[in-house]
Amino acid sequence: MSILVGRETRLVVQGITGREGGFHAAASRAYGTNLVAGVTPGKGGQTALDGAVPVFDTVTDAVRETGANTSLIFVPAAGAPDAVMEAADAGIATIFCITEGIPALDMIAAVEVVRAHGARLIGPNCPGATSPGRAKVGIIPGDIHREGRVGMVSRSGTLTYEAVQAMTDAGLGQSTCVGIGGDPIIGTTFLDVLQLFAADDETDAIVLIGEIGGASEEAAAAWAGEHLRDVPKVAFIAGRTAPEGKRMGHAGAIISGGAGTAASKVEALEAAGFRVAGSPTELPGLLRDAGYRG
């Protein structure tokens, strides 16, 4: 088993008739993901991807007609929190929200509704997840992956790809690669993903890609130090040289008053047994140093 996405994934894409939605729905499907439906209010009854995928007006309709269990959301920011709640209410178990630029307070309510429904949200402002050779849900380029047993989690987009590529180039395949998103309020944290990897019998090593700001790397490290003692694990933190008080694009990447600095994160990770790389390209070597033989 992989985590979050896999052969059991039955995917519905919300916003499938939009430019990005259509493009990435096609790419996910081309990768082999079981794409069963699309949703665009008002386009129910039509099809997408040249007739291959039925489009519904509501997620409830899509779930009822196709048994979708996973959703991928490309709805614009103004409607994205509603799309997330719609998916949770329709019984979708795993919801990926790619949309960026969603006001943080809108996500507080959406995350709470998802939690009340017992569903899981990944994102928003995330690139999705890929379980190489099984399924890809999101916008991570499919060809950078290689099948294997390293679990990777990151809150960046392209930096994730960089790290995945480095692993693949070094011959280290991945069980699942998850981008959790860089926004202040996200559905699934580093800690949540580490817990999933810990319970996954196909994941033998961990790569964590963090960045400055917030305290989620520290929280994950604290848990890993206790529960993942014997798992080979490496990390990379972006923003070591970022000046204090400046916001570097991601809402998450702002440092103020010493909390959330690269130094504090590196320290926490090393204390928990992570080897911390100075460049993404060093990750594979450090993982082998940590005893990973995959």
Binding site: V113, R240, T281
Partner: protein
């Protein structure tokens, strides 16, 4: 987006919170006349306070907050504060108001708690000092309470907070203020609403009897940039000094640009990768001249725009372009670079790395146009640093 104290107080007032009177003044003469009005009303302590309006902490220590007992004194002090430099920010306006007769100071703020995904209220009876200092020295003095994620701060939650802060004697006001902070946060999509100090002050009633009142003496609000689109009026409150002109130009073009002090211009897609690129430049011995994230799916014209921004900095003597295509197509970026070079007036060595979506097409274009390329990020950083060194500092 950070708001000035005076603007933050206006938003609090609009939400019904108790904020003592104030005026904003841009000249010493305006300060004098404001001081005349406030002093004529006979404030309890007989003084006015003049506070520098800058978007940075520590203005008190820097001499940006002073009391004055007469219009003359106010004018003199204002002329000292206006134009003053506080941590690199020039004081262009001040807030004037009656100096409060403070009985006791508290701290109260509403912030986003990322770990819990809720609004967190933090309060303390140790007001008037930085909350970070309190957190370090007396962590037990900070009271925390989450607002309900769907309903906001409920009355009972506000009461619990007020009692825990020792504000039982001012329960009604404390509850109204705590709820008002969350209402303000939700109404304007703020990331942070901070009152420091929240204070019990002594006021005199019409009959002259002194009466205690709980008021917001200072206010700090940071707005969620992602939500500014639905609060168009708030954009007017943006301090033009808060961002450099090039940062603003970039923002309006859909780019994220932050000017730094180095010599190597960076153009990257994605914030995390952009920071990583800067880190690797520094690690290779160079100094990045900027942070620049062209975002996802950038087209040729946006890339050209980004290049103009980088080259506008005369210190830049080498450029590193690092693109990992996902949504962004490598060939679009390559075309943008070629277009930009055709227009540029100054020749700066450039190292380009494009991988991911349409990287092969990009490679063909870049080779035809004779760009220097790199395969790995480390390699690209090393080449850019070498190029920068061989160029030296331009005149």
């Amino acid at each position: 987006m950070k708001l000035h104290e005076a603007d933050a107080k206006s938003l609090l007032l609009a939400q019904g919170l108790p904020v003592p009177a104030w005026e904003v003044a841009h000249t010493a003469a305006e300060v004098r006349s404001a001081a005349e009005r406030f002093l004529a009303a006979g404030p309890v302590g007989g003084k006015v306070v003049i506070k520098a309006q800058v978007l940075i902490g520590g203005r008190g220590k820097a001499g940006g907050v002073k009391l004055a007992g007469s219009p003359d004194e106010a004018e003199v002090i204002a002329s000292q504060i206006l134009g003053m430099d506080i941590k690199g920010m020039t004081v262009r306006k001040v807030l004037v108001g009656p100096a409060a007769d403070i009985v006791k100071e508290y701290y109260l703020s509403a912030v986003l708690d990322r770990a819990e995904r809720k609004i967190l209220l933090m309060g303390s009876a140790e007001g008037g000092v930085e909350i970070e200092t309190v957190a370090e020295e007396h962590p037990e003095a900070i009271v925390r309470r989450h607002a309900d994620p769907l309903l906001g701060l409920l009355p009972f939650q506000a009461r619990e907070l007020a009692f825990a802060m020792g504000l039982g004697a001012h329960l009604k006001a404390a509850v109204a203020i705590a709820q008002g902070l969350v209402t303000t946060m939700r109404h304007y999509d703020a990331d942070l609403v901070e009152i420091n100090p929240l204070a019990i002050i002594l006021e005199s009633e019409p009959g002259g009897t002194p009466v205690e009142r709980l008021v917001c003496l200072d206010a700090k609000i940071t707005l969620d940039d992602s939500a500014l689109g639905r609060h168009p009026g708030l954009e007017d409150l943006r301090d033009p000094d808060e961002e450099a002109p090039e940062d603003k130009e970039a923002r309006e073009a859909g780019l994220t640009f932050i000017k730094l002090d180095g010599t190597i211009g960076c153009m990257v897609n994605g914030a995390g990768l952009a920071m990583t690129t800067m880190d690797l430049v520094k690690r290779a011995g160079g100094e990045p001249a900027n942070f620049l994230d062209i975002g996802g799916g950038a087209r040729a014209d946006k890339v050209a725009h980004a290049m103009r921004l980088i080259l506008a900095d005369p210190k830049v003597n080498a450029i590193l372009v690092n693109i990992f295509g996902g949504i962004t197509r490598g060939d679009e970026v390559a075309r943008g670079l070629i277009e930009a070079r055709a227009q540029q007036t100054r020749d700066v060595p450039m190292v380009v790395r494009i991988v991911g979506t349409n990287a092969a097409e990009a490679a063909v274009l870049l080779e035809e146009a004779r760009f220097q390329t790199a395969s790995s990020l480390d390699d690209a950083a090393a080449k850019a640093v070498a190029a920068s060194r061989s160029e030296g500092t331009p005149a």
